[in-house]
Symmetry: C2
Subunit: 413 residues, 2 copies
């Protein structure tokens, strides 16, 4: 059986899939809408953490270019300033963030050096018919543009029709790292959330700040401030909001050196979460597979996007290598293998953006005094399906609390 | 969390689930519409083979009452008399059939002896509300009656609205066993199929004959013959049809001793295959789970019913024991774990009852001269999801043939 694979998109999903296929000697072509240089020079595309499960895949793919422990972080600091709560969850294995404008061009280079073909062209739905002539299987691994929309949203898993948060993400200088080095997750109920993360940028280590702002809340203005109109006012406003809502982060900032790393190191907008059908019947026995953001788009709050994309890419890659037909059963096998993780990420992220049920509030309070609970929650960033087993209903959250209570009582006895 | 489990039905699904729960010290009640005596005295309920995967579960449950190898069989004999083809597939581990009127009462006794509660009462949909008061979870494990119909059929997996075959199943004396002892699967294209199987009956080992008859074919009359109206005519007709359509079986029959083992050792009718939703939301946070025939009913041709029921029972049992809530996520986890096997059995059975695509005919021909292929097909009776990976599309069947061809060439080289 011929297996010529066409991959649309050079994000984590497209690259990990392409590299996996080349590692197994298969014909793989990545079609991307910009050159590697264009990607490197573009505006900040995201602030993506790669959790340990993803770093492990990068090692297996031979593209772990950043093994230096100084580039990693080992914990999540949680803070709820309004309740004067601050606590830490430790990761069993570290995480790492690298600006994707560094990461993607380098992995494109790896892919090409290993015999992968890269073509620069903007693809639309009208191109699918032509692509099915060239390839035995087309994988759409780009969430941007109309190609992703060819995969219908699954209504049961796509409860929102608009973004749940307006976002400001930027790479900043002047933020002192936490000790131990970690990502901070801070909540300002009614206004939003802040994710602060050490990240490798073109200029070395810096801080990614991701402000998730609630419509009508005090932080919403951040999503609409324009740095290029007045850098000074932009920075002053960000500092003012940090001081008011996220003092634990503000206290680590040196105002005199606090600024964007560069003028285009900022991204604003919003993400409508969606889970799409994973496969598209193109007729004549051919199918297209969706991966990454084309399959499932999540709000960036929990940093699940890149990790789910990488998981999905390897599942798709393994099935391509192992299976004997690219038929409906092939699509079904892929869907079955990746669904738990994809849905876990999507549902968990959606849950955290809603008004928390009382059991979730209790869990957060309990985490502040219960290290094993907090550590499990933190390590589950690698395994969103396990987190969902814990959080899928008030009964489950209550059971988690009870289990921890029982263990604490046992340890005390 | 309290886990009082109510199980409706004492077939393989209900009994294996109940026994599994008792093995794990859990509160389990089986509600059945007849006493064990009533079941033992009833008309033949089915002719169910238990494949090795099911026998293994019976060993683990401590209810393998028939370990004697003489009661087992070790191969499937296939015959296509019209093409003068006869060939054998060997089972890696033996299968066994015991009349369920022996099997079920004995396992009910085991269940009761191990602390399981048995209640004799006929349950309907109107009883569900009352049952949810008594039990934390209700499992409907009986395909008979309106309770199963409370679980909606899944249209995509339930393509047929009526039986694909009219059936005559009976336990017979006077059929000499094959050598080696095996089940025979015979095809009479356009007329039907015959499954002949060694089975332990009240009178010792005998032969189950299951005639699957095509509407309008020469065998259809068998489904409507009434033994009680004229035993002699019944037997004469069965013999005549065997001689014409299934000579390989007919030649092993001693007409002078050929008869039903007993007057009620016969079952006629037809099965409309259906896959139902596996869970039912009963409101107030309670759910009912469907298992066995309530979940998935298959035509008996491939003997998948009992085996899928047993698999499903253990999946449900494990999730009951391990999980912390009987919520929608619990139902989803069960569905995920058992779906592949259940759907594999259902789809494969449905496929074998259709006019075969040319690739399937080629596969059957190839099996007659290719032992590894035939053995894999035969052993896959234990793993219908693997069989479906082989048979789900013409491309897959062709790939299986190609793979076998390649291996044969390799072996010859």
């Amino acid at each position: 059986m011929e297996k010529r694979i066409g991959i649309i998109g050079a994000g984590v999903a497209g690259l990990h899939l392409g590299l996996y296929l080349r590692q197994h000697g298969m014909d793989a072509t990545i079609i991307v809408d910009r050159t590697a240089d264009g990607i490197a020079r573009a505006r900040l595309p995201n602030t993506a953490a790669h959790f340990a499960v993803t770093l492990e895949r990068e090692r297996l793919l031979g593209v772990d270019h950043w093994p230096n422990p100084d580039l990693h972080y080992t914990c999540h600091h949680h803070s709820l300033p309004c309740q004067k709560l601050a606590f830490r969850g430790d990761l069993r294995r570290p995480s790492r963030a690298v600006d994707h404008r560094i990461y993607v061009p380098l992995l494109m280079e790896d892919f090409a050096a290993r015999g992968g073909k890269i073509e620069v062209e903007n693809m639309g739905v009208q191109d699918l018919a032509r692509l099915t002539q060239r390839f035995d299987l087309v994988v759409v691994a780009s969430g941007r543009g109309a190609l992703a929309e060819a995969f219908a949203p699954v209504a049961a898993w796509s409860p929102h029709q608009r973004p749940q948060r307006q976002l400001l993400a930027g790479l900043f200088t002047g933020v002192r790292r936490t000790d131990p080095v970690g990502t901070t997750l801070s909540l300002s109920p009614g206004h939003g959330e802040l994710l602060e993360m050490p990240i490798l940028t073109f200029g070395g280590m810096a801080s990614a700040l991701l402000f998730e702002t609630v419509r009508g809340g005090d932080l919403e203005a951040l999503a609409h401030l324009r740095y290029e109109e007045s850098p000074a006012q932009f920075i002053a406003t960000v500092l003012e909001k940090l001081a008011r809502h996220y003092p634990q982060v503000y206290h680590r900032i040196d105002p005199s050196s606090f600024d964007l790393c560069a003028a285009n190191d900022v991204l604003q907008g919003g993400v409508t979460p969606v889970v799409r059908r994973g496969a598209l019947d193109l007729g004549e026995g051919k199918f297209a597979i969706a991966a990454g953001d084309a399959h499932c788009t999540v709000d960036p709050l929990l940093g699940q996007g890149a990790n789910v994309a990488s998981h999905s890419a390897i599942v798709v890659g393994e099935e391509i290598v192992e299976d004997v037909a690219f038929d409906a059963r092939f699509c079904e096998r892929i869907e079955r293998r990746r669904r738990e993780r994809v849905l876990g990420a999507s549902r968990w992220t959606n849950l955290m953006l809603q008004k928390p049920p009382p059991e979730l509030t209790d869990l957060i309070l309990e985490m502040s005094r219960n290290q094993p609970l907090c550590d499990e929650f933190t390590n589950n960033f690698n395994y969103p399906e396990r987190q969902w087993d814990r959080l899928a209903s008030p009964q489950r959250m209550r059971a988690w609390l009870d289990e921890q209570g029982a263990q604490a009582a046992g340890a005390a006895a």
